[in-house]
Symmetry: C2
Subunit: 355 residues, 2 copies
């Protein structure tokens, strides 16, 4: 598999009818701002003037990074598996926000280093898709082999197809992996035309000394491939995590299945950079939830030419920003579908307008 | 009544316990950004480490402006009553967004020029508190008398006390009144130290010629009081609408009752400027929902030294921005109340941290 995916750009013909429907609601044209753009985008994705979210789902991919043990994170690697257990017990931030937003939730072990404790029952779907017990240390060698990378992407795509067949038409991706901001920084450096120094941040809470050490280690990793011409898949195999590679396949399959995709923070955007480099039209299906406090995130969005909906200084990951945006999307669609028209409501238009 | 209200600043002692509770949840400290600040603020308002929204309500004050017939709006004055009917029929944007956010909704006729058609049954509470059939034309004379202004504020305060006694601890205010951005511009000019030209905008959709005419008319209105020293209540009586005056009293009563107040757009912020000039501590109880496309709104917030949560280019009014923020507030409180702690979840802290 070099590229099994075909993502087509959105056909825009229906845009006229969608805009007319929005303009016919009892409000001045355009006065609902970005919510109108959201409703229009979902209408184009679903090719209907009555777009709706069906069985929306939050999917958290978890994986460990060999580089974590080299000192790129403030937290020990064991936290990845501990947080998976927390997800399955319903106690993490993404659980709370998914419940609030009415999202079903899945957690995927894409490559957690230690075994994941799975409770007898959980509100959260757990899928064991472990490729290996963490990646190799990308500071010294490629994080994964090319064939591992392709198989991991294919698994992500298959999972999305399963949910899509089950009726899901809107999906958000989150991640858990100690050390994965380091991986995201290297991918962003390679694919978003960004100096490494500008896209390395504090992750979940490094102090100044920790940040300096992270910068030095990632400089070594980048130098390891200097001079080689890397394809997007090469970049993913060199620096990715299994959770990032699986998410990359998931993005491509979701866009190919014409699902609405809600994009979260820095790490999920790194996976999107890879998907975008393979099939640029994937962006047409994406809503960008927020801009996080991690400095590379803004750089990614400026490279992709996209704007975030929220700016709440989040820096947690897990898909939390994406979950927070689902109520806004629901509201945008409800406005389109439930508001009265001028004539039905007996409301006059502008002075001087006919009708 | 020159000032029957006493609003006390928030006692901050509980802040330490609230922050400790947030920091004990399974996430890096501070990683939920502005949501943590929100949860902390509501905790301080309610003086509890388990803050909750109870019977949250959206209240839309409607009133007409004598100046509307002079040409300050793109819409005819009849639209105010028509939109009140639309609110009561459930077809307006604020109805849709209040339903989405789980808010009870009230519509108050504070001074609509024409009779409001009230249906036999409605999901929306309607209150007839009409002071008069619209204000006088503030371009030529004071919009209302001092005694009308005080009585209108008192009515707004009484309504809030009624809902508060019914168990409501969080409230958002919206407005409907053709011409009321003009009123808000004059109030903002008078109370927020702002040049008139910078706080006059297109309202619900004036073209360039309409905007020029609005500027000229509002210049005349401002010139009418030039040289006089106006108290906040004088400003409200000179340039306010009945919906704005009633909302001013409502703000003060809500803060005095220790309710969380969600502040919407340009017009609702103009009422807040008056309330703030009377009792500055009212700000402690306010969350600022969004920054609208009306230019004076940013100026108001910079004068008050506050930041909006959302920037969605809304310019509809009705309370729509405030309604959109309630799900974020609910999420912030749910994170505080429902997330697991590190010890309970068996999740490790930072490398080097004790415990």
């Amino acid at each position: 598999m070099t590229n099994d995916f075909t993502v087509t750009s959105l056909e825009r013909d229906l845009g006229v009818a969608l805009q007319a429907r929005l303009d016919g609601r009892t409000k001045p044209p355009g006065s609902l701002g970005k919510l109108e753009a959201l409703a229009l985008q979902v209408g184009l994705i679903q090719q209907t003037i009555t777009p709706q979210l069906r069985h929306p789902r939050m999917v958290v991919f978890a994986g460990d990074h060999g580089a974590a043990n080299a000192g790129v994170s403030a937290f020990p690697q064991a936290v990845t598996a501990q947080m998976v257990a927390n997800f399955l017990a319903g106690g993490a931030a993404i659980n709370v926000l998914s419940r609030q937003a009415g999202l079903a939730m899945s957690v995927i072990d894409a490559g957690v280093a230690s075994p994941c404790k799975v409770p007898a029952s959980s509100e959260v779907e757990f899928i064991d898709a472990k490729v290996a017990h963490g990646t190799a240390n990308f500071i010294e060698e490629a994080a994964m082999s090319a064939s591992q990378c392709e198989a991991t992407m294919a698994t992500g795509a298959e999972l999305v197809c399963k949910w899509h067949l089950g009726g899901c038409n809107a999906i958000g991706f989150g991640e858990m992996g100690i050390g994965n901001t380091a991986s995201a920084s290297l991918i962003t450096h390679a694919l978003a035309d960004a100096p490494l120094a500008e896209v390395v941040g504090r992750g979940t809470g490094l102090d100044d000394a920790g940040l300096a050490r992270k910068r030095e280690l990632l400089g070594k990793a980048a130098a390891r491939v200097a001079g080689r011409s890397l394809s997007p898949l090469d970049v993913l195999a060199e620096f990715g995590g299994f959770e990032i590679a699986m998410m990359t396949g998931a993005y491509l399959a979701a866009a190919q299945s014409r699902m609405l995709i809600v994009v979260d923070g820095f790490i999920t955007n790194a996976a999107l950079l890879v998907a975008h480099a393979i099939e640029p039209a994937v962006l047409d299906y994406c809503v960008f939830a927020h801009c996080s406090a991690e400095p590379g995130h803004r750089r990614q969005m400026s490279y992709l030419g996209v704007q975030p909906l929220l700016e709440l200084d989040l820096r947690l990951g897990e898909g939390t920003g994406a979950a927070l945006v689902f109520p806004l999307i629901r509201s945008a669609l409800a406005l389109m579908n439930e508001m009265a028209g001028f004539a039905d409501a007996g409301v006059s238009g502008k002075i001087g307008d006919v009708g």
